[in-house]
């Protein structure tokens, strides 16, 4: 059991004059679960990394104030024994793995923990069971889906068995059912006496197990009252299924005929035909690892397939890549894979200069930049943006390109509600100007007005549904 106390914490990034937060005073007791919630870029990940003693070591920032673990200044604790007591799961799982697959990563971690050889196997088995990762643990990381990687990362945290568990958006890419199961497991951990701190943009399903909701306000993080918390949770009630229609006779843009897709030896889609319609937004849902991203990769000719795909009646195998990409664009699930310039401003300007079709006026673009909160970040290096800020920049840059078909892979991942609204407005505006959109999303907030049709991917089949 362990208590964590933060006193007058303040943090500045080296090149910024203003601290990103100050006067943070918080207390985390054993057997509690605290949630930290706030807009993208307010400093949540930074705060967790300071607690985990990763910053300022891996970042040129300056922090002042003190953090105590059981009344002892964390900087005075021997590093390894500190790390055995506090472990953190990163927001981006790709940044936390150094071996090739989950099994090797678990072994690596257990060796660092100095666990004797004969105990390691047992520990690993327990961890695999906890995260339900037995069927993916040997797969190389770069073949796993986003949600699968998060489950592996969580298994590793469980294996470390720390007293204090820090989780940064641990469920951003997992499907709703898995989220439910994993939140249940957090509750078990809490009842075992752990101190749990989670950062999450999505507050659904925490209502019954949380002890403490911490909100960012006025440059600091503060606990709010139980009553205020409950009000906040209400914003995240999952709305009952929303009705939508099944398309008929709309003009077809993308036509998939008897498509089969595999990933290694795993069959993802088998002999399936489906159409996507011109000027509409189609939502695709499906469990983690069902093959949604592989489907997108197929549509951009980056994944082998059997069958035929036609874009505006033309077989895509016969269209030259350069020409094809003028028509179809993709917003990658991993934001930082989208960037090819150094700063935010350069990234946006590149899109303005190279667009295929002018979807937005200059005034509209300036407004988007402002509403997304990117205005003050124009000169910042893209790598140093927070995950949510990267996501927003990425979507804006791709929308400006004005592709006639745009694929969006988890565009709302790690983005706060207010920004989701702004993103929705941009996507809707692009649609009214003729863009066809296909969206993969686990996140279901605010989708009501955006989505026209809903397709599920399950049992290796794509199918239109009447609700989502």
């Amino acid at each position: 059991m362990a208590t964590l106390t933060i006193k007058n914490l303040k943090f500045n990034y080296a090149n910024n004059k203003m601290p990103i937060f100050n006067d943070v005073n918080l207390n985390f007791a054993p057997k509690t679960l605290s949630i930290i919630h706030g807009p993208s870029g307010c400093g949540k990940s930074t705060l967790l990394k300071i607690i985990a003693r990763l910053y300022p070591k891996y970042n040129e920032g300056i922090s002042s104030g003190k953090i105590f673990l059981n009344q002892k200044d964390i900087n005075l604790i021997n590093e390894l024994s500190f790390r055995k007591q506090i472990a953190m799961m990163f927001q981006n799982p790709n940044q936390q793995f150094c071996m090739q697959n989950g099994y090797d990563e678990l072994i690596f971690t257990m060796e660092n923990l100095q666990l004797p050889k004969d105990k390691i196997s047992k520990k690993i088995n327990e961890a695999i069971q906890f995260g339900n990762t037995s069927n993916i643990i040997y797969h190389p990381f770069d073949t796993l889906s986003g949600g699968e990687k998060q489950r592996v990362a969580l298994s590793i945290i469980y294996a470390i068995n720390p007293n204090i568990i820090l989780l940064d958006e641990p469920f951003a890419s997992v499907d709703y059912e898995t989220r439910q199961i994993l939140i249940g497991k957090l509750n078990q951990l809490k009842n075992m006496g752990k101190t749990i701190i989670v950062v999450d943009h999505d507050l659904s399903l925490y209502e019954k197990i949380f002890d403490n909701l911490i909100i960012y306000n006025n440059n600091t993080f503060k606990s709010i009252s139980y009553k205020a918390s409950i009000r906040k949770f209400e914003e995240f009630q999952i709305s009952p299924a929303i009705k939508c229609s099944i398309p008929n006779k709309q003009p077809i843009t993308l036509e998939l005929k008897n498509i089969s897709i595999n990933n290694g030896d795993k069959k993802l889609i088998q002999n399936n035909s489906i159409n996507f319609y011109q000027g509409y937004t189609t939502l695709i849902t499906g469990k983690n690892g069902s093959g949604k991203t592989s489907l997108f990769n197929t549509l951009i000719k980056m994944h082998p397939f059997n069958g035929e795909i036609r874009l505006n009646q033309k077989n895509i195998r016969k269209i030259r890549i350069a020409k094809y990409y003028k028509n179809i664009g993709i917003v990658f699930q991993d934001s930082n894979k989208q960037f090819i310039k150094l700063t935010v401003k350069e990234e946006i300007q590149l899109s303005i200069k190279k667009h295929n079709y002018k979807l937005f006026s200059t005034i509209e673009i300036d407004n988007f930049i402002k509403n997304l909160g990117l205005e003050s970040l124009l000169d910042q290096v893209v790598y140093s943006l927070s995950e949510g800020q990267q996501k927003k920049l990425q979507i804006l840059s791709m929308l400006i390109m004005g592709h006639s078909v745009l694929l969006l892979d988890e565009p709302f991942k790690g983005v706060d509600l207010k920004s989701i609204e702004v993103i929705n407005d941009m996507i809707k505006l692009a649609k009214t100007r003729g863009q066809t959109q296909i969206i993969i999303s686990h996140q279901r907030y605010e989708l009501k007005e955006l989505v026209d049709f809903h397709v599920t991917l399950s049992n290796r089949k794509l199918e239109y549904k009447e609700s989502f």
């Binding site: 070591k57 940044q95 150094c98 990409y325 989208q338």
Partner: protein, 213 residues
Amino acid sequence: MDPALKLITILIIAIEISFTQNLILNFIIIIVSLLILILNKISLKSLLYIFLVPIIPAIGIYAAQLINGSTNYGIILATRVYAYVFLGTTFTKTASIKNLIFTLEQNCKLPAKFAYGVLGAFNLTETIRKEIKQIKLAAAMRNVHLTFFSPTLYFKSIMSALNWSNLLAEGMTSHLFVEDSPRTHFKNININKLDYVKMIIIIFLVQIVLIKF
């Protein structure tokens, strides 16, 4: 054979052929490596690749010596290029990097920091390769067509490789890797005595070829 011993053997041979001029030895090395590679079921594609890639430097070197009038020396240099490439390929195709790391750490008593640094370096090449592919794709989506010669491609991939190596250190720390603190080993790697014998025999044979021919 133990990967570390194998690496040492190959390095010794490589050093020897760079200080001696022995055409027969070069050929023997190429043929033996080729046999080992074939026994290890190397794909035809990689085989073609290792034959074709060194061809430009090999011919270049040969041509340069031709101008100087020393054809023999030219042939030795050209075959030497091939010998290096084949030795290197034999190593990478027959040794697992993971086992190399383990033996370096456990048997050669290299600090874990260095051992995993080697691993990082090996993964880095793969990372950069993927990175270049990804950047080309991302650029194509923005109507920018990067060719093999575009500076942007290299600038950007080096940037992200640097960023990646920073993140790697942070990721390792988060999984409890602390410099200079002891670790346990799940898989113990012991060097077989026979491996030493093999190594000595191979090096001995190389000396014989050098002396006799």
